[in-house]
Symmetry: C2
Subunit: 216 residues, 2 copies
Amino acid sequence: MPNSDRISKPTSRRMSLYLRALQLQLNQGKAAISSKELGDQTGVKDAQVRKDLACFGSLGRPGVGYRIGDLHHQLRRLLGMDQTWKTVLVGAGNIGRALLAYPRFRNEGFDFVAAFDHNKKDVGKKIAGLCIQPMEELKKTVKQKHAQMGLIAVPPDAANKVAQSLVSAGVRGILNFAPIRLDLPKGIAVVNVDFTDALEQLAFEIRLSITEGKSV
Amino acid sequence: MPNSDRISKPTSRRMSLYLRALQLQLNQGKAAISSKELGDQTGVKDAQVRKDLACFGSLGRPGVGYRIGDLHHQLRRLLGMDQTWKTVLVGAGNIGRALLAYPRFRNEGFDFVAAFDHNKKDVGKKIAGLCIQPMEELKKTVKQKHAQMGLIAVPPDAANKVAQSLVSAGVRGILNFAPIRLDLPKGIAVVNVDFTDALEQLAFEIRLSITEGKSV
């Protein structure tokens, strides 16, 4: 079993992709998968797949492939998916509601234990089984429920204050949807999701594909 | 001016971050920025900033920094932001509505020209100034408006059919929010946004920070 602290971010992203593909195979009742199949399903070169998975030792056999059940188990451990992550949502606008209702979170070990909004007219409403609470209850609830993760889906000018409240209440990591860089103490993990980044990336790749098309 | 086809995806993602930071500086009326400042604002090491921006030639001067206006202009060109990208949305659920209302898209050159949903009760409703159209009008409208990008925010079992319709109507790239790998012809750009990936990444980083904390 490799140490998670020796694995780079791009590698851990590929590990996520492998885990997703293996889950699909398990659901279909398959027992083994080759590096080529796994590569085809995730868009990764099969040489890279073999290199990434070499750290797990002898889970793969030439001509047979990886044992899906074992590899799935090891990847879940590596990625921290063998535990349930208690998660709170702050901001119950469109993005927040979409996240609460996202069906795969619970299957993947992410358990929403509370949701908050500053908007009085949303407080008390039920979304995906959770009752929206007022912001004043955030710190107390996060502590009581021992939440480890916070999802921030509030406007940018409110995001840093929310982040500070979450951290002071004991949250260890933040998934940030607000288009602003959060100012967090050392040791607090953060992953930013910025839709503008994704669109810029797409614009760049379209340019790329047009350039490549011309040069062929 | 570097060729966009010689730049890797991670580099182009950093370029996006630089562009965002430079925009903020421009808004504040600043004229120059050092690689260290730019690194601090984007979370990139200053040596990496200098390496990434070296391709633009003599925009930086030791002791003074980069000329923000020039660098901003060059980065916009490189990332394909010096043009307007006509974009359509398919799927007007929570995520779709959040995307339509995302205020920064228009500023960054992404112009929503149409939105579609299969749900009859949503058709005709106005969101962020756009009237939701039925799916039957997708191909015709995309062609008429010369849309180049499609945002897919439909359930996974509908995503591939939508993608095929978009591509056959002339779209060059797809931003995919459906948690499924799209089967697209060569030459069509795709960027996937998967919230489960982001949460798994966060779980992994929390584990990492706990491990690092222990080893100090």
